[in-house]
């Protein structure tokens, strides 16, 4: 035994733990006023064991019948799967692009003229840079 264990044991023995006669009497008297509790019995099921077997078997039989019925409905001809094109054609709606010009108010007409001028300048700049005829 190591030093610490020995010391702890010795020091515990140094603690005076004499139970007094008065405490001893108190404990004895208290014990006479108490009686051990009986362990609570686990309540047994009132249903007989065979009932569980019967209900389990009935349940299994019903499940089998349901499965059989569901599978009987599927005995008809199996339809061919519809072929689906991997790439579907994109349908472009026929839009009527002949729209009437909107009646612009003066500031908006001015803005439009400016935008058109900007567009023309940009077009000219691109032509000069790339030298491509649109």
């Amino acid at each position: 035994m190591d030093k610490l264990a020995t010391r702890l044991r010795e020091d515990a023995a140094d603690i005076d733990a004499q139970v007094s006669a008065e405490l001893d009497h108190r404990i004895r008297v208290s014990l006479h006023n108490v009686s051990p509790e009986r362990p609570k019995a686990v309540p047994r099921s009132s249903r007989p064991f065979s009932l569980w077997w019967a209900s389990s078997l009935t349940g299994a039989a019903v499940a089998l019948v349901v499965i059989a019925l569901l599978n009987l409905d599927r005995t008809g001809p199996v339809s061919e799967p519809v072929a689906v094109n991997a790439v579907q054609q994109i349908v472009i709606p026929d839009l009527n692009l002949n729209v009437e010009a909107a009646m612009l108010t003066s500031p908006l007409a001015e803005e439009l003229a400016n935008l058109q001028a900007d567009f023309r300048r940009a077009e000219m700049a691109v032509r000069e840079d790339v030298e491509i005829d649109f």
Binding site: L4, I27, R38, P39
Partner: protein, 182 residues
Amino acid sequence: MSDELKLIDAAKGGSVEAFTELIQRYRERLFRFLMTRCGSYADAEDALQDTFINAYRYIATYNPQWRFSTWLYRIAIRNAARLRPANIAELGELRDEESDPLTYCISQSERDNLWRSAKRLLSDEVFAAMWLRYVEDMSVKDIAAVLERSSSWTKVNLLRGRRALEAELNNEAHKTGSESYG
């Protein structure tokens, strides 16, 4: 069947005499432990009495796969814990070292009792684990059962407790050494 098991069986059947004989073997050991756990001597006495009453009342639930002392200690720790919080709240700051039952019950000697240091340094649970290990010689498994902790928690905390007390022991040795050399 061992003598102890015979007494337990008789107690289960309602024999107070058998139970009284059974607890004779444990009462001093338990009382000593409870004095380290409780705030006062009176509390330790009450905790001991409650422990035996509860043990007798619920003896039918005792499982012989465990040592009887393990079961008793488990009840004792619960009873001590039940007494403790109320007392602390009641006494508040008035509680001081003088109310500690160990102050009265440790025989005067030149050296300080290491269990007093343990009470100061360790938490209640680690203190209990150390007590059960070194005074009661309980296995880690039994200590874990008493404290309702895992075996790994018990091992780790026994090691921590041990380290703390070894450091205290070394400090004490240094002090004694420096005093004797002036």
